[in-house]
Subunit: 269 residues, 3 copies
């Protein structure tokens, strides 16, 4: 996938306005909805087991996020995930904090076992722990585990037959066959809660309009990182509060041309 | 109701600072509380069945919103609603996403059956689906169903003996006897999540200080729309993030004079 | 504790980046996480009974907040609190709305009975009602009860053997032995939802890096109030929306020097 094609992804999202069904955590739900609205998607949140399957099947993508999980919410996510699987709706999974507690690790693994996931996005520790490998994690933030992120991503992608997105200073994106890195983004993203969770939902929006999940994720990453860079340039001297607001502005404002100018995509191997 | 009287509603809210008990969805709860605080009301959120009745009875208004409903939360809402009914506290209902899934439609209808609601606010699809009529809905956003919004509002108002507020480019407000349209507002409201939900809570604040529910809703609508217009004029070129923040500023800043200058109320028939 | 020492507290937080486990209400969860991130701490939210104990024991502080309590969430809080007690993790408690409903009052008292709390923070009505004394409360806002806030704080501190922070125009902070007032802050804090709740979590962050809880709370109060003053000076003419964003900026920006210039700490008796 070249930069030109990656940059054009946002056009499709804005044109098709896909419905993205989010089952996410209560810390980021407002920011997620506003971020998706800003970039042109149509967010919906629905958690109840009584409606999870019905909402998932009419969505363009289903996003599962265990940031503030409960036993009930994980059950609902699995119900929604199975419904999405049956109806050909891509499922994007964010195993927030996998490794931080046994309950999170087990729940992440249960979701991966029960639901066919199109893409999984996390930091290296979360992906490793979901895979059953030890990797130090501090709360829900990436720990200081060592290891090769690219090897980890490929291993996970092959084992689960899914696209894997490991975010960090540089994002690694692979479906096990093709592998990319995306170098866009900004350090201020780590100072605003939910920027990782929102990114997972943004990947969902792109997957709803682009069949190749790996390409959709690359397209989402270069768009998202460009928006962050532009927001930081406008507000860096002011602080994380101003950055967050301007980031939402930029999700609405970023054009294909901006992405083409700034995009830093590299295909590996 | 003339514009002069409608414009004065916000003065009463700011003077009396009514307690508004919100049982709302987890996407908008922070925005709702901040919006109500900004305009001068006193918000409280309380969901547990063990306290729903106790909180509702001391409130100036009770707002029920099924945006992220569960079986338990609907039960709590009905408990709170019955308590409000017993104690003469007006109940305002927002049937978010009615029609999107059977569970939402049934829950919205159960609330309307069990609780005597003073006002119901939604887009045309939500009101129609709560009424048992088909109307296309996309997630929780208004769908493209056709039909006469004014006829729908009047029909619902008469059937339920309640005020009905159908929001859209132009708001329709009726109690079945008198009917108004309010033309204030701005397209950017559709780019910020929860602006409809907050509006429902704002109607609650106005109902707490004005006995005629239809007049309270008109007063709330012209105030809310004016705030949106002023916010958009200040921030439109920047984007939805900036608009949201300025909108909260304007809820605090809008004066009776601003409303009188801009208010677009029309009595129908 | 002199101003110089109090002002230096934020340096320790920024250096150690303590993990703060928040079990808080769904109105303020995003604002709490962003506030803690801005000032340099590492927030995590985890509510499920299956993981509450595991998360609490690895945290630098545990914050319990009953703003939108349920029977289940109170049970989880007690599980987490006991785990924190066993592992020497300080527990900070915010009895939001104690006195507003019997369920809140009883739940606040149950937590105080079951968990050894290092500090409790509330307005005068909340502290009094948790203590079993009547004090008028309006929703979750401070009521107009009369009584001597300083006497109330000392009485509570001695009874519970804990630090007590009663916030208001002037904060009263005592551990029963030493007592301080902190005069920093700004009226606009009352116009943004969750500024009290976030303050409780900020006290948690300071308690994670400073053994004397009373000193940690004084240090947190003078830092927090200074950030509010600086934010208000920059945005007061614009409104509560702008103030909230700038307040987050200032939590990141405030330096020891700012606190030393503005700090208004008074030791009593």
């Amino acid at each position: 996938m070249n930069l030109e094609d990656a940059a054009r992804g946002i056009e499709k999202v804005r044109k098709q306005k896909p419905l993205v069904h989010n089952m996410t955590n209560n810390v980021v739900t407002n920011f997620t909805a506003n971020g998706l609205l800003a970039l042109g998607a149509s967010p919906v949140m629905a958690y109840a087991r009584e409606e999870a399957a019905d909402m998932a099947k009419i969505a363009g993508a289903l996003v599962l996020n265990i940031g503030t999980l409960s036993r009930e919410s994980v059950e609902s996510m699995i119900i929604a995930g199975k419904s999405a699987n049956e109806h050909g709706v891509p499922v994007i999974f964010d195993p927030v904090g996998a490794g931080a507690t046994p309950f999170r690790t087990e729940s992440a693994q249960a979701i991966m076992r029960e639901v066919k996931v199109s893409a999984i996005r996390g930091n290296a520790a979360e992906i490793a722990n979901t895979l059953g490998e030890d990797w130090l994690i501090k709360g829900v933030d990436a720990g200081e585990g060592s290891g090769d992120r690219m090897e980890l991503a490929k291993k996970a992608a092959k084992l689960w037959d899914t696209a894997v997105i490991i975010t960090g200073a540089e994002d690694v994106i692979t479906d096990g066959t093709k592998t990319y890195t995306v170098g866009n983004g900004h350090q201020l993203l780590t100072k605003v809660t939910g920027t990782g969770c929102l990114f997972t939902s943004v990947i969902g929006a792109f997957c709803a309009v682009e069949k190749d999940v790996c390409h959709a994720a690359v397209s989402a990453a270069v768009f998202y990182g460009t928006a962050a860079e532009l927001a930081a340039e406008k507000t860096e001297s002011r602080g994380p509060g101003s950055f967050q607001i301007e980031f939402v502005n930029q999700l609405a404002a970023v054009e294909v041309m901006d992405i083409k100018e700034r995009g830093r995509i590299r295909e590996v191997e």
